[in-house]
Amino acid sequence: MSAAVLVTVLVAGGVYLILQRELVRAALGFVLIGHAANIIILAAGGQRDREPAYVGEGMPTDGLSDPLLQAFTLTAIVITFALTVYLFALAGHGGDEDGKNSDAEPSDADEDHGTVVDAPSTSGEPVGTTSTGDQPTGRTDGKEHA
């Protein structure tokens, strides 16, 4: 039960943070959701058995916790940690351009020349206007001729 409550809180916080605009906040949200997933795994083995999973000569085997899940969690933590660091690196690199191209069409942005042309004209426009129209090139060119 306590695990379920904890997972709920973590997921709720994580979803809230992911929906934020800044990438660093979203990254923290991913960290929370990753923790929630890890707790689900740990809880999957049952929470009654808490003894260290150490089997030795003449040791009691009752109440040992499941070592497999601890191994799973450890693996998952390592992966999540590496990815979080990379996500922070992405946030640091050019993070000030967050969202600028997120609604732009791929064709609008998939070529370096396109960015060169569009940079002066789109920078003066509100961000929302980049999402419409299927011939962005023509539009931009037309404006420049005009």
Partner: protein, 523 residues
């Protein structure tokens, strides 16, 4: 080949590329050595996969209990016909895309070959593993290099695309992880052979596995969780886009086939699959029609094709699954051929926007031929492989009484043709476009840098490059990799029976799980 020898080679698909990746990383100043090592490894793996197919072509399942642990304790590697086919086609993709990257100079980045090697190791591992948690790890091993490959160029567009791709996959991986935890909690194991049939016996296991299937479906870009794909794939370099399209989404498809076949024994979600997959087919193709760049069209269209590949899940059976497997192999090859043909154009013209392209079929007839053959194969025109794939799929749907699905498959094909014609008309047909490059450069340099936008000056400095003159020919070597893949699709189309027999054996292994579980649990 002796099964025992063969089973001992299975872990090599994982460790060999990773080992060579480490070596190529050390040799990052010696480009030629790096290329030689990478291409040799890819060729070796392809050869190994082809040999292993001959050993499992009769439906044999070979299981390797890694490190010699007893069955049930070990984390097994399992090779069956389906896995063998996927291994071979994945290795072919890696080889061809690496060669293409060498020809375009995309591998100038010293980390390119090491990353591709690690990515390929993850993909092979995902195809071979017989353990749900190991599947998660292998998917991560394949995904992490892809994040880096996507963002290595450092372009603002690639970074934005990388953030979308990375964020979505991170979230989906967390869902996958939680799902695997729930499966362990409900079933007490994550060994796929032990899980066989578990979902049909217990509702909690079915729900937990459903979470895993949801995550894998998102990785395969099924509607309604497909939107990340068209926003991220077109921004990588051409070779990387082709590689990701051929390998990464297909891990999701492979995982769904395997897990739905084993754990659900192919029953219980028919209606869900039918609705989701028909929506995927239809929305994917219309989304592709709305795009205006070559690779954007192809990327969005991939979603539609994944719908085709997975459609047999709605009427799980040997015939249908055989059609699905055949379709997947055909699709991986043809899609990569299209990406590489368009990539050759893009590399030459310096843009992928259809509005700025034209006349390539006249100037480069061979490139035009490669594109049109691949496009017709995608649409399903005989005698190319796409015809056999679609024909068998439609036939299987009719047998199962799903006339709506069959009709959708036919109608969506017409729109596939339309989206391919959009590329053909824009880039290959017609006359040369008026040269926009010079005007673009002068106009952008004439515009004063926008002082309020710190990015503008930086973008301009970073991205301006000399415009290629349209008098240059597209180098033959850029056409070659696509041409090899087109020869494959023609070959598969003409000799369809051989591959179809293999696909049927593979499908029988998926629909009847006893051989699989016996081989893993009681060797």
């Amino acid at each position: 080949m002796n099964p025992e020898v063969l089973s001992a080679t299975l872990p090599a698909y994982l460790w060999l590329p990773i080992l060579i990746a480490a070596v190529t990383l050390l040799a990052k100043r010696a480009k030629d050595l790096q290329r030689f090592l990478a291409l040799t490894t890819h060729t070796l793996i392809l050869g190994g996969a082809l040999i292993s197919i001959t050993a499992v072509s009769d439906g044999t399942v070979i299981a390797e209990q890694v490190s010699g642990w007893v069955p049930g304790i070990s984390i097994p590697f399992v090779l069956d016909t389906f896995a063998g086919l996927m291994l071979a086609v994945a290795a072919l993709m890696v080889l061809v895309c690496s060669v293409f990257a060498i020809f375009t100079g995309d591998d100038a980045d010293p980390y390119f070959h090491p990353l591709v090697l690690v990515l390929s190791a993850g993909v092979y591992g995902a195809f071979l593993t017989g353990d749900l948690f190991n599947l998660f790890v292998m998917i991560e091993v394949a995904l992490i290099p892809s994040y880096v490959l996507l963002t290595r160029s450092g372009k603002a567009t690639a970074m934005t695309a990388g953030r979308i791709y990375f964020g979505v996959n991170l979230l989906v991986s967390a869902v996958l992880l939680a799902g695997i935890g729930l499966v362990y909690g409900t079933a007490g194991t994550v060994n796929l052979a032990e899980l066989a049939g578990a979902a049909t016996e217990s509702t909690p296991v079915a729900l937990a596995t459903g979470v895993v299937l949801l995550a894998l479906g998102a990785k395969a870009a099924l509607v309604p969780v497909h939107t990340w794909l068209p926003r991220s794939y077109p921004f990588a370099s051409v070779a990387v886009t082709a590689l990701l399209s051929g390998l990464l989404t297909k891990i999701g498809v492979y995982g769904v086939f395997r897990i739905y076949g084993l754990v659900y024994e192919g029953t219980g979600l028919e209606t869900v699959w039918l609705v989701v997959l028909l929506a995927t087919m239809i929305i994917g193709v219309f989304g592709a029609l709305g795009e205006s760049g070559m690779r954007s069209i192809l990327s969005f269209h991939m979603t539609s094709q994944v719908g085709y590949i997975m459609l047999p899940l709605a009427f799980f059976g040997p015939l249908g699954m055989a059609a699905g497997i055949f379709y997947m192999i055909h699709h991986i090859i043809v899609k990569a051929a299209l990406f590489l043909a368009c990539g050759a154009v893009e590399h030459h013209a310096g843009t992928g926007k259809l509005a700025q392209l034209g006349g390539y079929a006249r100037r480069e007839p061979w490139l035009g031929l490669v594109f049109i053959l691949a496009a017709l194969s995608l649409v399903g025109i005989p005698p190319l492989s796409g015809f056999v794939a679609k024909m068998s799929l439609i036939h299987a749907s009719m047998e199962a009484g799903l006339y709506l699905a069959a009709a959708c498959a036919v109608v969506v094909s017409l729109f596939t043709l339309l989206s391919m014609l959009k590329i053909w008309n824009g880039a290959f047909w017609g006359s040369d476009p008026e040269p926009p490059k010079q005007r673009v450069l002068t106009s952008s340099s004439a515009t004063a840098p926008d002082a309020t936008d710190p990015a503008a000056g930086r973008l301009r400095r970073k991205f301006v490059r000399t415009a290629p003159t349209s008098l240059d020919r597209v180098p033959r070597r850029l056409i070659l990799p696509g041409a090899v893949l087109v020869l494959c699709t023609v070959g598969i189309g003409l000799g369809a029976q051989a591959l179809m027999d293999l696909a049927i054996t593979a499908a029988e292994g998926l629909t009847d799980t006893t051989t699989y579980t016996e081989a893993v649990m009681h060797p």
